[in-house]
Symmetry: C2
Subunit: 206 residues, 2 copies
DNA sequence: CAAGTTAGAGAACGTTCGTTCTCGCTTGTA
DNA sequence: TACAAGCGAGAACGAACGTTCTCTAACTTG
């Protein structure tokens, strides 16, 4: 047996940690955070309470870890959409709304974890509220990069972010993915209008 | 003493009921619903538990009453914005985003009660989820009325609704009211683009 | 095999939840 | 003055919360 398995943070520990995070994410997302106790999570994940508190010293710590993991997943989705969208920043921006449409179609879709968590805990858990704020700010910053590449004014990035946020909550509450298509159409209009206004005469770019 | 004060639902009962609703709304909105117990509400409202349960047979019932009251307040805000906005449906639509900007400026603003409540309880309380869905649908229907008046295609209403939703969550999380102005600018672009596309040559209307 | 560390299962801690009940006290009517 | 009804204050209920502790079995190391 290799010496690495003998001490702390063995590979298995890492797998268990991930398994707990996935389970907690699923339960919190579907039922809300306060509604899911540590006992329910223990049962669902098949892990002892001792192990749970060994890996996550408190529930708040666990919630933060769940959010951090979701942050990574969201970034991957966005980057994949951008990478496969097209070569032009305009189409890469629009591809993000196609990604949303696919996400909204998932059976257990219930809106944005960060928005939901902010509504439930944002008023009483400042550390979590900060985490959520940073997540949203990073997405807006990514949009701003792409908008800058198009040559459109920076304001457009904020408008596109608002469309993405609104699509998520609207789709969650309505229970359909229509909002993604409406947001995509609106985004297209806003982008093309901004480009037409900003660059009255076309020049070859790139 | 008038006979009306002697029986059930005296004027004072109605005032107490409203006072409880206002207090519950404030507490739920600022801290989340699960985080506010009936005891905390009792203390804050200065009402006995007996009276509380006499007026609202359960916490879920109370939450529904709070949401219904907020629904009325929201409708009033929208109608006031429409009434004072202008005579044209275009400007009335835009006036809604000015209303949002004022709302976001309030000290205790923490997003849309319905969105927050959906995130916390939507997965486990179907009746409340339905209430929230109906609230959002009624707002979208009101937008659709105004959009129809402008002559723009109905799709525009959905786009404008998404902007309003996104502005609320974005402003709540960011802690600024910038989102209202961005949403207003985006809405103006979308409306005017829709009108220009739909009505290529201008004709005098009204 | 012996000694020592780690793990799981779950009882137990004190608190808080939503809800109901008990107890005096006030109040309106005869 | 008697009495019935309703009230506020808050104790009490069983359940569930987040967290810690106990006990025992299994494994690691020599």
């Amino acid at each position: 047996m290799p010496p690495a398995t003998r001490n702390r943070t063995t590979p298995q520990t890492e797998q268990i940690r991930e398994h707990i995070l996935i389970t907690a994410d699923r339960l919190y997302y579907s039922r809300g955070i306060n509604a899911v106790g540590m006992d329910a999570l223990r049962n669902e994940a098949g892990v002892s309470l001792k192990r749970l508190y060994q890996l996550f010293p408190s529930k708040e710590n666990l919630v933060e870890a769940v959010l951090n993991r979701r942050h990574g997943i969201w970034n991957s989705l966005v980057e994949t959409a951008i990478a496969t969208g097209s070569d032009t920043p305009r189409d890469q921006l629009i591809a993000i709304y196609d990604m949303l449409a696919h996400w909204f179609d998932e059976d257990d879709f219930r809106g944005c974890v960060f928005i939901n968590t902010f509504g439930e805990l944002g008023g009483t858990a400042p550390h979590i509220a900060t985490l959520i704020r940073e997540h949203k700010a990073s997405f807006q910053a990514r949009l701003a990069e792409l908008v800058t590449k198009t040559g459109a004014p920076a304001t457009l990035a904020h408008q596109l972010a608002i469309l993405a946020e609104g699509a998520q909550t609207t789709a969650a509450i309505a229970g359909t993915n229509d909002a993604a298509h409406h947001a995509r159409a609106a985004a297209t209009t806003l982008i093309d209008t901004a480009l037409a206004t900003n660059q009255p005469q076309a020049t070859t770019t790139g």
